[in-house]
């Protein structure tokens, strides 16, 4: 099992490396520079700025210096927010985004799987149709529509929850954003679980489990759940991608000080180092998630696990 993990890890590192390299060179190769947006500066000043930021060196030298600083955890200075380094900006915003994302993912799983199972157990009943209809709505309607609607309902009209803003450690401010962010993956997971559970419940080994006189909850939890979760495991990486994407919008609407806004602002301002830093963070997250999913597959199905080890 450990050997399996390290093989996968060894495969992931080069991928990350390639992404960093490609991103770096693409950005350097692009027309225009980070200072083009400002009021037109006299060329000597531009030259000074470029030399200060090391932009006048040959590309390879810049690349080497960047990699070295990466290893020290230094993403370089932000071109736009002149008083901060990218590392500082990320450091401030990342915990918020992480909290938001983790809670959304957890909600999507903890609510989606039981909902899907419930629908499967009540196949073709009114409850089943109702749940699946809600699921379609959850998948179709984007979070930047859902969140403001929720904000209107719970914030402006009912005054239950704050509409926007953030205080450290405040759960009330996170409630609506997390809900809006979790809704599409939740709905998708519910649909996946339902379909998969329906199939698993038709299996012969589930018939055996029932024939043994085991109560329903035992059959579901011990015998049916793990095989049924395989498609959900496959969906985890797209789910994280969906949550990352959604966080861009949710953070901006709800005024949460996460890193999402840096990506969008960085794009508009053409702030190279910032965008580069964000790309690295997001790629690492996704690749990391991929590793977790691989481990998950091994746990879900012993045949995968045992295939890697000598008998």
């Amino acid at each position: 099992m450990t050997r399996y993990f390290f093989t996968r890890l060894a495969g992931a590192i080069p991928t990350l490396f390639i992404i960093i390299t490609l991103t770096f060179f693409l950005m350097r190769a692009a027309p225009g520079g980070p200072f083009d947006q400002e009021q037109t500066l006299p060329p000597e000043i531009v030259a000074n700025l470029e030399s200060a930021y090391g932009l006048d060196q040959p590309v390879w030298v810049q690349y080497g210096r960047y990699l070295k600083s990466l290893l020290h955890g230094d993403f370089g200075p932000s071109f736009k927010y002149k008083d901060f380094t990218v590392t500082e900006l990320i450091g401030q915003g990342f915990p918020v985004t992480l909290q938001l994302g983790l809670m959304a993912m957890a909600l999507a799983l903890l609510a989606g799987v039981p909902l899907g199972t419930f629908a499967a157990l009540h196949h073709n009943s009114a409850a089943d149709y109702a749940t699946m209809s809600l699921a379609v709505a959850g998948i179709a309607i984007p979070s930047f529509v859902v969140l403001p609607f929720l904000g209107l309902l719970f914030g402006v009209y009912l005054h239950w929850l704050p509409v926007a803003g953030w205080e450290p450690g405040s759960l009330r401010h996170l409630a609506l954003p997390v809900l809006a962010l979790a809704l599409p993956p939740l709905a998708y997971i519910a649909r996946l679980t339902r379909g998969s559970m329906l199939e698993v419940l038709r299996s012969h080994y589930i018939r055996t489990a029932f024939a043994k006189g085991l109560p329903l909850h035992t059959v579901i939890m011990r015998h049916a759940l793990r095989p049924a979760l395989t498609p959900v495991a496959s969906y985890l990486v797209p789910a994280v991608a969906s949550i990352l994407t959604g966080s861009l919008v949710v953070e901006s609407i709800a005024g949460l000080p996460g890193i999402g806004r840096y990506l969008v602002q960085g794009a508009i301002n053409r702030d190279y180092t910032l965008v580069l830093g964000m790309v690295i963070i997001y790629s690492t997250l996704l690749i990391g998630m991929g590793l977790v999913v691989d481990l998950l597959y091994a746990w879900l199905d012993p045949r995968v696990r045992l295939a890697k080890e000598p008998f």
């Binding site: 080994y205 024939a211 006189g213 045949r303």
Partner: protein
């Protein structure tokens, strides 16, 4: 003496787009304690659906009639009380050992959970008992199997595990649905031998369902012959083979090749097809294929009649 299993006028039917399909149509039978009942018939005869209904595994089907196990009614009983009986005193093993065990749980877990659930044992105690049962069903290296997964065992070994699972709580009745069909001939013989030994040791009643008369012949005290959801003949084993009374039974017996008889140029077969479940109800279902059929057979359903030890449902029995 109370029969272990007592079924009266059981019918199992499925709602379908084009009407209702009756898989089991008015079946009644008794199994006495420690008796071995063989149930034979083609695919579609309803023999499997019959016992699935007994085990509460009939799915979406409508089940009507009465199923009494040790004089307690199972149909309509609460799930909890039915579950107390099923898996412990009334157990079933299925045809396909390759897919009947949960792939992600160890053999030990799947065996022990029966004991944990029904007899309140701890998991360690359960594994112990399971290990001993694996010895009884003559699995090689029983202790090692407990921590293995189903895919690490061969088909024959898995079927032994299924058998062990069904015997853990000392059941009064074990239903074996085509237990050897998916296995090699040599393994088949071993499983049958095992079933015989189990009966002898524990005095368990056995309902052996099969389309293969040969499998049933070695074990059964009595044999039920089913056709198109109905029982057509019910007789003691020896008598059935010597003196079949229903035309269908006679044809079936002709189909079993014999090592001692004359060499035949062609293997005899039964002409025609079994009826589709939606077909005519008020007639003898075998009439279209019966060499002895007359007009009466096509309009009147024959009732199962005879003595207490031998019955047949035919207007013109042999």
């Amino acid at each position: 003496m109370v029969p272990t299993l007592s079924i009266d006028e059981l019918s199992v039917s499925f709602a379908h787009r084009t009407g209702t399909l009756g898989a089991v149509d008015g079946v009644s039978l008794r199994i006495a304690p420690a008796e071995c009942l063989g149930v034979v018939g083609e695919s579609g005869s309803g023999k499997t659906q019959l016992f699935l209904a007994v085990m509460g595994l009939a799915g979406n089907a409508r089940v009507r009639g009465s199923i009494r196990f040790e004089d307690k009614e199972l149909l309509g009983a609460t799930a909890r009380s039915a579950n107390r009986v099923r898996g412990s005193k009334l157990t079933m093993i299925f045809q396909d050992p390759m897919t009947s065990l949960t792939p992600h749980l160890t053999i030990g877990t799947q065996l022990a959970e029966v004991l944990v659930c029904h007899q309140g044992l701890s998991w360690r105690e359960g594994r112990d008992v399971a290990g001993r049962m694996l010895e009884r069903v003559r699995i090689p290296e029983p202790r090692r199997r407990l921590s293995q997964y189903p895919h690490e065992l061969s088909g024959g070994m898995r079927q032994r595990v299924m058998l062990a699972m069904s015997l853990l709580c000392e059941p009064a009745l074990v239903i074996a649905d085509e237990p050897t069909t998916a296995l090699d001939v040599t393994i088949q013989a071993q499983i049958i031998e095992l079933l015989r030994a189990m009966r002898g040791e524990a005095g368990t009643a056995l309902a052996l369902v099969s389309h293969d008369l040969a499998v049933v012949a070695g074990l059964a005290d009595r044999i039920l012959v089913m056709y198109a959801g109905r029982i057509v003949e019910n007789a003691a084993a020896g008598e059935l083979f010597r003196q079949p009374r229903h035309p269908y039974t006679a044809e079936l017996l002709k189909c079993v090749p014999s090592l001692s008889g004359p060499r035949l140029a062609r293997l005899p077969t039964l002409a025609g097809q079994p009826p589709q479940p939606g077909d005519a109800l008020q007639a003898c279902r075998f009439a279209p294929r019966c060499p002895r059929a007359a007009d009466r057979c096509r309009i009147e359903r024959p009732a199962l009649m005879g003595t207490s030890t031998s019955q047949v449902a035919c207007h013109f029995p042999l």
